[in-house]
Symmetry: C2
Subunit: 250 residues, 2 copies
């Protein structure tokens, strides 16, 4: 198979309610587009959710790291490319590139996925899925950003808290992956976003949370513009961790 | 101009993060699609935001009423039709129909818009815009749902409160119209949505709110499944009102 054939490309436009106060696409909406592209790419190649569900398997997003030099502006057309970088027994690495309206690559993303059995909730062996056919799509297109890192948070008291509501819950009854990104971005005041932008955003999903769950946001603010966030249930159970790199707006 | 030419039709698919726990498209996402369609339709006919902004005018949504027999399910393709029903001096009525994946019309919506001058914030005369050319697009396609109604709320104490955050704010620096819908839907527990669905949802936008504003949600629950909501700033100033009709799920 040619390398080009292994890369999916999908077109978007930055809608008015998908941009923030500065007119740039929000990272939550970008995350949603990336996950949709992962779905389109997998479906077109026979290993999408719908096909898997027939066999009682589903994809679960474990980590996402997005690194952007810039973000599309309101009404700008842009495209997302995606491909599979690696397939291991229990995880697969899927990468993304974001190309702006002028054809310039303005950022990349990395994601790590597992597959689970919907009955047992246990991880599945990706190398035996459809006789390992997913490995036919492995592609070494460049993705010059660091892999998702380990995130440690030391804060002893939460900065913010919320209770999971109707709009937070997805079709599986879980707090949805994109809403976590939005709630984490909501930890910061507009004044910060006027002076700084998030160059790199990482999130690692740890355990599921559900409607009505109380979630506490623990925040470590480091001196170099790095912010780490851990979201915990009152029991102390971690639902996700995030790490952001803020840089001054040029 | 033929009637068919006056009606815009736009295609969508219900994305995984755009459906709720029941697998149905959320009313917030549907509202976003409707407003986008209004924008596409107006732009294609020369009276869109971009053209208007050159002359320092913009469209402002005043009211929206959505009435649905059903909502698209995850991955379902659907389309939205939109047309201009009336043009008055200070307001225009724009209607919508939603057609599901089987080609069946499953709901309608009505919206009321004003145009304002971006400098003076004062309403503009729609009949003199581009020599009244918007009236060329008036179309009497059927829209068999009631017009937006007057909403009155008597509740003395708020049911919920929030502070406007980064994700709530749009490119104009205002609390965004779609986020209001989401926060209003979040007033109700999942158990209610398991037993009932919202057959009709109305919202009237009154005054703008901004980042950091505290918003209180006053709720009147009536016996027939009708719920009215008024969102107020601590000063008592009303930002929007909403009215919903819940019906048992068949």
């Amino acid at each position: 198979m040619s390398e080009a054939n292994k890369i999916g490309r999908y077109e978007f436009v930055a809608e008015p309610f998908h941009v923030d106060f500065s007119g740039h696409l929000t990272l939550g909406v970008l995350g949603n587009h990336l996950l949709n592209c992962a779905g389109f790419h997998a479906t077109e190649r026979g290993f999408g959710i719908a096909t898997l569900n027939e066999d009682n398997y589903t994809w679960v997003l474990s980590r996402l790291a997005i690194e952007m030099d810039d973000l599309p502006l309101q009404y700008e057309h842009f495209s997302v490319q995606t491909w599979v970088e690696n397939v291991y027994r229990l995880f697969t690495d899927r990468n993304f590139a974001l190309i702006n309206g002028e054809g310039k690559t303005i950022g990349y993303a990395r994601s790590v996925w597992a597959m689970i059995n919907l009955n047992s909730r246990k991880p599945a062996d990706l190398l035996s899925l459809h006789n390992g056919s997913i490995t036919d799509y492995v592609c070494d297109a460049p993705c010059p950003i660091a892999k998702p890192s380990r995130i440690k948070v030391g804060a002893q008291a939460p900065t913010a808290s919320l209770q999971a509501k109707y709009s937070d819950i997805d079709i599986n009854g879980h707090f949805n992956s994109i809403r976590y990104i939005e709630h984490i971005l909501d930890l910061f005041p507009l004044d910060r976003y006027r002076a700084q932008r998030i160059r790199r955003f990482e999130i690692a999903y740890v355990t599921e949370s559900y409607f009505g769950d109380n979630l506490d946001f623990f925040v470590d603010e480091e001196e170099n513009g790095t912010v780490c966030v851990e979201v915990r249930k009152p029991s102390g159970e971690v639902t996700c961790r995030s790490k952001m790199e803020f840089v001054p707006i040029a």
